[in-house]
């Protein structure tokens, strides 16, 4: 029986660029920025790195394929650099690889970095991803907003909820994230919005309006990991250690049976259960202090609260409206602004989430610092509700 990853690996240092429309920064520039901050935070030199993992999703408009773009951009000392790509969970996958390498004793210190340069397309929103030669011959020419908007139609049907009630709840999700993003100097969108603005915004994909969709941003984030002993040896205190790393990938059940009702993400529930088990979390609603979830769209965040077993099924609307996930609520969610406002450079997002929780746990989050957070969870969802990859990470103070 595997013993799990809990407390075997610690975060030595982290870095994250400002996210946003970085018109004058290349993906290489972004990598250098995030890497520089992470290495300075870690207090080590490149020669101490044993291996590196590189996450980027859209090679055609970013850096190109493989590990070389990162090896060259960061002038790494000819260590192994491996590109990982797993849709929006890519950043978390890079972290998983680096953490596993350290835990396995294959290297002492490992680097994971994610970058995405999305603002070289010429238009807003995400570019279409390549999907092979069969899928385009039958699958809709679908876009993310309409894929995720379907959660809303199915959720309403399941819970017999009127459109206005759900629309108002998901508006609250966005209003909250904008309020949080306004206090984060690295966030892409730092403006507050009112519920009225969200409700009246132009429709992108029914029922989602403009403010129900996350920012499309350039950015990079990096993390250096090592063993707790090495970290202590390097003089680090208040260690943040990895408690759980879980990934669940669809196997077709959602589409190849008629059992899934379309109102939630099957993989998220599986990954959450496994992660809580690995981390020894018995009651997540009581034990978690902070959440960074994949709020690509406001409706995704709302159903994720149920998928993570924080809100009871059908009850997320009430919890959201009660402010349970607001900055001053029981479990603040997206305290850094989330994908919604911090932004969503795909390959970097998982590491960006980790960055915020790391800062919060170490008490270094500045004006948005929460009181005594101990345990945080990150959640990424790549693909779409009907077939996706979900990663869930739990990190916390070593003592927890």
């Amino acid at each position: 029986m595997a013993s799990g990853i809990k407390d075997k690996v610690a975060i030595l240092g982290m870095g994250c660029t400002k996210f946003g429309e970085r018109w004058n920064a290349s993906p290489e520039d972004l990598m250098v920025e995030a890497y520089g901050e992470a290495m300075a935070d870690a207090g080590i030199g490149p020669e101490q790195l044993g291996a590196a993992w590189f996450s980027t999703h859209m090679e055609d408009i970013g850096t190109g394929r493989g590990g070389m773009p990162m090896g060259i951009a960061l002038r790494l000392p000819n260590i192994g650099v491996t590109r990982v790509e797993n849709f929006c969970a890519g950043g978390s996958e890079a972290v998983r690889a680096a953490v596993y390498a350290v835990a396995a004793g294959a290297c002492d210190i490992a680097l994971a970095l994610g970058v995405e340069k999305l603002k070289d397309t010429g238009y807003g929103g995400l570019p279409a991803a390549t999907v092979g030669t069969l899928v385009p011959q039958w699958y809709p020419n679908a876009v993310g907003p309409a894929n995720f908007a379907q959660l809303a139609t199915a959720y309403r049907r399941k819970h017999r909820m009127d459109a206005a009630t759900l629309k108002r709840a998901i508006a609250h999700v966005s209003v909250k994230s904008h309020a949080n993003g306004a206090r984060n100097p690295k966030a892409h969108l730092q403006n507050t919005v009112t519920e009225e603005q969200v409700l009246n915004a132009p429709i992108i994909a029914e029922p989602l309006g403009l403010y129900d969709c996350c920012g499309v941003s350039d950015g990079a984030a990096a993390v250096v990991v090592t063993t707790p002993d090495i970290a202590r040896g390097l003089g680090k205190k208040n260690l943040v250690t990895v408690k759980a790393l879980q990934v669940s990938v669809s196997n077709g059940w959602e589409m190849h049976s008629n059992q899934w009702d379309g109102s939630y993400c099957h993989t998220a529930r599986i990954a959450a259960k496994r992660a809580y088990e690995e981390a020894g979390v018995a009651n997540p609603r009581e034990e978690l202090s902070i959440l960074e979830v994949h709020d690509c769209f406001s409706i995704t965040e709302l159903v994720t609260m149920e998928d993570l077993f924080l809100s009871l099924e059908g009850n997320a609307v009430k919890d959201v409206m009660d402010g349970f996930y607001d900055a001053d609520g029981k479990i603040p969610c997206q305290i850094d602004g989330g994908l919604k406002c911090f932004g969503h450079p795909i390959g970097a997002s998982g590491i960006r989430m980790l960055y915020e929780i790391y800062l919060q746990l170490q008490g270094r989050a500045g004006p948005r610092q929460l009181a005594n957070p101990k345990l945080g969870l990150t959640h990424n969802l790549g693909g779409q509700p009907s077939q996706n990859v979900c990663s869930i990470s739990i990190v916390g103070l070593e003592s927890v």
């Binding site: 929103g125 030669t133 020419n141 876009v143 994909a205 190849h256």
Partner: protein
């Protein structure tokens, strides 16, 4: 006895208001003011002669999965999408007809459908089994032309055979003549036509009566005995003039549906025939003629068995299901005559891997899923491994057709982000009666037409157009099940 053993039709849902066209063009072509009456049928952007032929064939064949009675299939059209690639072959795949079915394209003249009908009659007479004769047209016209107002889009289907004959074939005749009333050289999109007076006086008025006389003689029927006279024409009162000239009773003249759908071209005679067959009484005789590179005429007599057959929707059903469209620019855009701004998302390459298409042709063109023999779960697309919890089963799936099954919307959205010819772009997950689920595009749809739980049916449509290489990608789409109008409603619509 040889004759018609089944029939059907198809008229696209959209009916373009002629008033909208005339008003939009009035600054340029004020002389069309008198034509600002009624509607013409208008294909959706994702329809062409192949997809409309499939719709007409399904109207004729019904939902029955066993279509093994079809021995041959012909598709007549002057607007076949492909100059190379057998168009009727695509139709055969969509209908999931067997590989042993002989498949033919007929084209080159407005009476190509009657040539196909001749061929089918001869096959039946020779005992070669039943032939499904399909005809469809989606003609392009110049903006602000008479043809733009007169033409329509549509399709028709006739099954010709020897068992349970609904209308017996009595005789036919053909006059072949290189009378060039209009032409279109290969590669061109729009016809070039000569003066109407010459076509009426020297063409239609001389060649059609000759063909009719010969057909009547071959049939042993006198002109005065004809109960239904079908002659499609855009020319005012041309049918009446011909009837008088040929000795056919005035009351026998069949309304050409010009005011409602326009002249659909190659399929129009068969479309009108399919319409007449819905109401014709046993013993009545039908004469149909069409003009084009000569003339051709057929005579049928309705049998006692005629009441035993009903098309699924029928021409009268399609007529009643029309929706008026007042956006002239939508018509121009759908016909490829007005290029609206598509944005960069519209630049996405739509290259089709033909090897992949061939491997998956039954899945893509026939909408054939795989049903696991052990669990009964339906997989789309089919796969070697079936989903069974904990123990994927290998090679347990058998072909399972979904095209004729009704589905229900599980979830959906409509978005304005991706490029789509008819925004907002609707798609969602469809759960099929009996199992199976596909995330698919919706068509013939307006905002507010769907909600979770809405019943949907499948239609064969163009999925994507590869403008770079000139290729249409076909697949199935979902459209709301629209109840057939009641008999009273249909009567009122007539």
């Amino acid at each position: 006895m040889v004759g018609i053993v089944g029939y059907g039709g198809y008229v696209p849902r959209l009916r373009l208001s002629r008033k909208a066209v005339v008003e939009a063009n009035s600054w340029f072509a004020p002389h069309f003011a008198g034509k600002a009456k009624g509607t013409r049928s208008m294909a959706n952007w994702d329809e062409d002669s192949i997809t409309m032929a499939v719709a007409a064939a399904r109207d004729c064949l019904g939902p029955c999965e066993d279509r093994s009675g079809v021995a041959a299939l012909s598709l007549a059209s002057s607007t076949l999408p492909f100059a190379e690639r057998q168009n009727a072959g695509v139709v055969r795949e969509a209908l999931t007809l067997g590989r042993n079915v002989e498949v033919m394209d007929f084209t080159g003249s407005q009476r190509a459908a009657l040539s196909a009908l001749s061929d089918a009659v001869f096959r039946a007479q020779a005992g070669a089994g039943e032939t499904l004769v399909l005809a469809a047209d989606n003609r392009k016209t110049r903006a602000a032309s008479a043809a733009e107002l007169d033409f329509g889009d549509g399709a028709a289907a006739l099954m010709i055979g020897r068992t349970n004959v609904l209308a017996e074939y009595l005789g036919s005749a053909t006059i072949s003549e290189d009378f060039v009333d209009h032409f279109r050289i290969a590669g061109e999109e729009i016809d070039y036509a000569w003066e109407e007076r010459w076509i009426r006086d020297e063409g239609v008025s001389k060649l059609v009566p000759e063909a009719i006389a010969a057909a009547l003689e071959n049939s042993g029927i006198a002109a005065g005995q004809i109960d239904h006279f079908i002659f499609p024409t855009c020319f005012q009162k041309m049918e009446a003039q011909l009837a008088r000239k040929c000795g056919i009773r005035d009351g026998a003249i069949v309304d050409g549906l010009m005011s409602r759908i326009g002249d659909t071209g190659t399929p129009h005679a068969l479309l009108l025939l399919a319409h007449v067959l819905e109401r014709a009484q046993p013993g009545q005789t039908i004469l149909l003629a069409q003009f084009g590179s000569g003339a051709q005429a057929f005579v049928f007599r309705v049998t006692e068995a005629s009441a035993s057959f009903r098309p699924r929707t029928g021409v009268s059903g399609w007529l009643a299901r029309g929706m008026e469209e007042a956006n002239y620019t939508k018509f121009l855009s759908f016909k490829g005559q007005l290029r609206l701004e598509r944005g960069m998302r519209g630049e996405q390459d739509k290259k089709t891997a033909l090897t992949t298409l061939y491997r998956h042709r039954e899945t893509i063109l026939g909408l054939v899923a795989g049903r696991c023999e052990i669990t009964g779960e339906v997989h789309f697309p089919p796969s070697r491994l079936s989903y069974t919890p904990g123990c994927p089963a290998l090679d347990t799936q058998r072909p399972y057709k979904l095209a004729e099954r009704i589905g229900e919307v599980l979830s959906w959205s409509a978005e304005y982000l991706s490029f789509n010819m008819a925004p907002p772009h609707h798609y969602g997950q469809i759960d099929f009666d009996g199992g199976g689920r596909i995330l698919m595009e919706f068509t013939d749809i307006s905002r507010g037409d769907v909600e979770s739980g809405t019943k949907m049916e499948m239609v064969f449509r163009i999925k994507d157009v590869d403008e770079l290489r000139g290729f249409n990608r076909y697949f199935w789409k979902a459209t709301p099940v629209r109840p057939l109008p009641s008999a009273d409603e249909m009567k009122a619509a007539e």
